[in-house]
C-alpha cells in the first residue's frame, strides 16, 4: 500500500455541503442512541438534554479547504494544479481565480475565511493574512506542477 496523501487543512466557508468524517458520523450516531436509551430507561428530560451533544457535534463540523501536493479539495470541488492554465490574483478584491484546461474555474475568496477575532481591524488583517498565505501556497503548487501556468495580477 501507499502512504495517504498529506493535506494541509484551512478553515474556509465554502458554499458546498459540509463533509463529515466517518468518526464524526459514528460519534453522532452513538450519542443519539445513548441519549434515546437514557430517555427510555431513566428520564426523558435528561435524554433530551443529552441530545445536545450529537446535535452540536453535527452542526460544528468545519468547512475546510484541503491543500495537497497535486490538487486541492474545497467542498465538492477538486482542482488539479497540473490542469490549471491561468491564475488571476486580485489583492484589491481579495480573490484568486484558477482557470483549468477543461474550462472550469475555482475562486478563492478572502471574505470566506472564518472570523476568529472580534476587533474589526484585526479581523480584516487576519482574513488578509490567511488569504495571502493560502493563495501563495496555491500559486506555488500550481507553478511547481504546471510549467505553462500563467499568473495575472489584477
Amino acid at each position: 500500500m501507499t502512504a495517504p496523501t498529506a493535506f494541509t487543512s484551512f478553515r474556509y466557508q465554502h458554499t458546498d455541503e459540509v463533509t463529515r468524517s466517518r468518526q464524526r458520523v459514528v460519534f453522532v450516531g452513538a450519542t443519539v442512541v445513548l441519549a434515546l436509551a437514557v430517555a427510555a430507561m431513566f428520564a426523558v428530560p435528561v435524554g433530551a438534554a443529552l441530545l445536545v451533544v450529537p446535535l452540536f457535534a453535527w452542526v460544528a463540523a468545519p468547512r475546510q479547504l484541503l491543500l495537497g501536493p497535486r490538487y486541492l479539495l474545497c467542498g465538492n470541488t477538486i482542482v488539479y494544479f497540473g490542469n490549471v492554465k491561468r491564475m488571476t490574483l486580485s489583492h484589491a478584491h481579495g480573490k484568486l481565480r484558477l482557470e483549468c484546461t477543461n474550462g472550469m474555474a475555482f475562486v478563492l475568496e478572502r471574505r470566506r475565511f472564518p472570523r476568529s477575532v472580534l476587533a474589526v481591524e484585526k479581523l480584516v488583517k487576519s482574513k488578509a493574512t490567511r488569504f495571502d498565505k493560502l493563495a501563495g501556497k496555491i500559486i506555488a503548487q500550481a507553478r511547481a506542477t504546471s510549467a505553462n501556468v500563467v499568473l495575472i495580477s489584477a
Binding site: N76, I78, G82, T145
Partner: protein, 101 residues
C-alpha cells in the same frame, strides 16, 4: 493511476480529473466502477460500459478494478470472457506516484 504507473504529467491529470469527477458524481450508483484492461480504462454503470479512455502509455499488464472506495486487481480472462469480477487484491501492485526521471 499510480498502479498503472502513469507519470504525473498533464495527460494523466486531465484524465484523472475526469475519472475522479465521474466516481464522485452524486448521480452515480454505488456499484458503478472503472476497469483497466490492456491500456484502456472503461467506466461501467449498471453492467454497461458508458465511457472508454485509451491510455497507451500505461505500464500495467494486469486487469484492475476500482470504485470510489477500493482498488483491486481482477482475473482478466474471467472478466473478458464472462464479465466476472474475481477480486485478487492489491498484492504486487505498486501504488506510489511514479518518479519522473
Amino acid at each position: 493511476m499510480n498502479a498503472l504507473r502513469l507519470a504525473d504529467d498533464s495527460a494523466r491529470t486531465e484524465l484523472e480529473e475526469t475519472l475522479v469527477r465521474w466516481l464522485v458524481d452524486g448521480a452515480r450508483l454505488q456499484e458503478d466502477h472503472l476497469v483497466y484492461q490492456q491500456c484502456a480504462i472503461s467506466c461501467y454503470s449498471r453492467g454497461h460500459m458508458i465511457e472508454h479512455y485509451e491510455v497507451p502509455w500505461a505500464d500495467q499488464t494486469r486487469t484492475l478494478w476500482c470504485n470510489a472506495r477500493k482498488l483491486s486487481a481482477i482475473d482478466g480472462p474471467a472478466f473478458t470472457l464472462n464479465a466476472q469480477l474475481i477480486m485478487q487484491g492489491t498484492g504486487g501492485l505498486v501504488l506510489t506516484l511514479p518518479v519522473v526521471a
